[in-house]
């Protein structure tokens, strides 16, 4: 982990507008993400986790969402002052996102190969033929441990299992070597065994490419496995932030304590200490 800030969020306010009534989702949200670290954003539904992620990507609907105050600085540039065209250069290229529901994030009527080739050609620095892009797609699939990439590129999303679809999503997110990967509940819909493989994969890729990760989850077990630092969000307010060990051993805010107490736990530690 370096001292260089990759993402700085300063006093950010996000407001939803409906029928001329403006409702603030949150105001005054500030946090930084340093180059190469994994930051977990935790909180319950409605706490603003996903809104934060989408605000960074500027994926919130422009006709009903406004950013009355604050800054989102990525790599020194203020994303909020970017035009839609400039954002397109950032999205997918420098910041990529993996969603919870891979099935609905993939296009159901195109094969995996077609979708990946289009994406790779769109972000390619020089012109690529479809054949070259397909070769790259297979290489990416191999990176996320898909062994029979030749078959997978010919398949449609519905033909793949949940874990495989999530791998494809991660492969697509990695296609442009993003500096920041935002993973919004990427394993919530998956079985534990599959979840454990995907988490391992994300950790490996992080080490391999020095990626910075913003990981959104409500599962504290996953947080403990993934996070360098943890941000606790409640009703649009950042109630506590700290290193993983600070949060898990010395939580200060009552809400963090409440969250930690409510998690069902399996006490492996106690058991192993028994004779």
């Amino acid at each position: 982990m370096s001292e260089e800030k990759l993402l700085e969020i300063k006093d950010l306010s996000v407001a939803f507008r409906k029928n001329q009534v403006t409702t603030p989702v949150f105001s005054g949200l500030s946090f930084d993400i340093y180059q190469g670290e994994t930051v977990c954003l935790v909180g319950e539904s409605g706490s603003g986790k996903s809104v934060t992620a989408k605000a960074i990507m500027r994926l919130l609907p422009t006709d009903s969402v406004s950013y009355p105050e604050g800054e989102i600085r990525f790599n020194g540039q203020d994303l909020l002052s970017h035009s839609e065209r400039e954002m397109e250069q950032i999205r997918g290229d420098q910041i990529a996102m993996v969603f919870q529901d891979a099935l609905s994030a993939l296009n159901p009527v195109y094969t995996i190969g077609t979708q990946m080739v289009d994406l790779i050609r769109l972000h390619a620095k020089e012109k690529l033929s479809r054949r070259q892009a397909l070769a790259q797609a297979k290489k990416l699939l191999a990176q996320v441990d898909i062994r029979h990439a030749d078959e997978v590129v010919k398949q449609y999303p519905f033909q793949l299992s949940g874990g495989m679809r999530q791998r494809v999503m991660i492969a697509m997110a990695l296609s442009s070597r993003p500096r920041l990967l935002i993973a919004d509940e990427p394993t919530t819909a998956l079985d534990v065994t599959v979840q454990s493989n995907i988490l391992k994969l994300i950790r490996q890729l992080k080490e391999q490419f020095g990626m910075t990760i913003l990981f959104i989850t409500h599962d504290l077990g996953v947080v403990y496995e993934m996070a360098d630092r943890v941000l606790v969000l409640r009703q649009g307010e950042l109630v506590e932030s700290g290193t993983r060990d600070e949060i898990f051993t010395r939580p200060r805010h009552t809400y963090t304590k409440q969250l930690l107490n409510s998690m069902p736990r399996i006490y492996f530690q106690e058991q192993t200490e028994l004779p």
């Binding site: 319950e44 539904s45 949940g162 079985d191 534990v192 065994t193 599959v194 979840q195 454990s196 988490l199 409500h218 599962d219 504290l220 077990g221 996953v222 403990y224 496995e225 898990f248 051993t249 939580p251 963090t256 304590k257 409440q258 969250l259 930690l260 107490n261 409510s262 998690m263 069902p264 736990r265 399996i266 006490y267 492996f268 530690q269 106690e270 058991q271």
Partner: protein, 260 residues
């Protein structure tokens, strides 16, 4: 030995497929459930957990095998009393309630059907049920959409309780809920287990939840039971290779236990 409340033996579910081999969703599953016991069923998606639960609850016809309730065989056409005795709690708390009915009417249905309650005794019973699950009486005139997910699940539990069952089959009852709400619902279910001796068949993919609530665990894989035993035994010294993988996959918080 005390007679088991529920005795399931060699339960199988086979789906016929046109022009292809038949698909066995559940293969020869046997287990028993005593009064006041919570049996957790774990396994990955497609392992047949829900199929077993639905067959036990009578929501899915059985291909072969038998179910005995209180020593009596359960017929494929269930008696009203058998239906009353085994109640089901669904994963999606909101869509499992009729959106066109007020809360009091949702709760009135089983009370009228099974106990022929009406008038004041019906109202009193509804108030008592709401009280049991920690929902204010004033909510009885609301519609499900006016309640939060956790509140809807409490209503789902109250509706099951209305039938005064001996067994509640809970299929991922907390998966759609936030963690703090999940722990409240689990506490409510445990409290009902203690106070009324209700038995549970509990399905969850969250193994921590199963660990918290179950006395005994059934591990399923591809329609078969691969391991069964007391919860602590299965979690702390899993025997079958699949159970071991499952347990190893749980994201672990490697800290000794303490209350925060």
């Amino acid at each position: 030995m005390e007679q088991a409340l529920l005795e399931v033996s060699h339960l199988s579910k086979i789906y016929k497929r046109k022009g292809g081999p038949d698909f066995s969703a559940v293969k020869e599953v046997s287990f028993s459930l005593s009064k006041g016991e919570a049996l957790g069923i774990v396994g990955e998606s497609g392992s047949g957990k829900t199929t077993v639960a639905k067959m036990v609850a009578g929501m899915l016809p059985v291909t072969s095998g038998s179910i005995m309730l209180d020593g009596q065989p359960v017929e494929s056409r269930r008696s009203k009393d058998t239906k009353r005795n085994i109640q089901y709690i669904f994963q999606d708390p909101v869509s499992s309630l009729n959106p066109r009915l007020k809360i009091k009417d949702i709760l009135a249905e089983p009370l009228k059907l099974y106990f022929k309650l009406s008038g004041e005794s019906l109202d009193n019973r509804i108030h008592k049920l709401l009280d049991d699950v920690g929902i204010p009486k004033s909510y009885q005139d609301r519609y499900p959409k006016e309640l939060s997910g956790g509140q809807c699940q409490r209503i789902g539990i109250a509706r099951a309780l209305a039938a005064e069952p001996s067994i509640m089959v809970c299929d991922e009852p907390t998966s759609a809920l936030d963690m703090t709400i999940q722990s409240q619902i689990l506490e409510l279910l445990q409290e009902l287990q203690r106070s009324r001796g209700i038995s549970y068949i509990f399905i969850a993919h969250g193994l921590e939840v199963i660990y918290t609530i179950s006395n005994r665990v059934l591990v399923m894989k591809q329609g078969e039971v691969v391991e069964t035993g007391a919860t602590t035994q299965v979690f702390h010294s899993p025997q079958h290779a699949y159970t071991q993988t499952l347990i190893q996959s749980i994201p672990k918080i490697e800290l000794p236990y303490f209350e925060y």
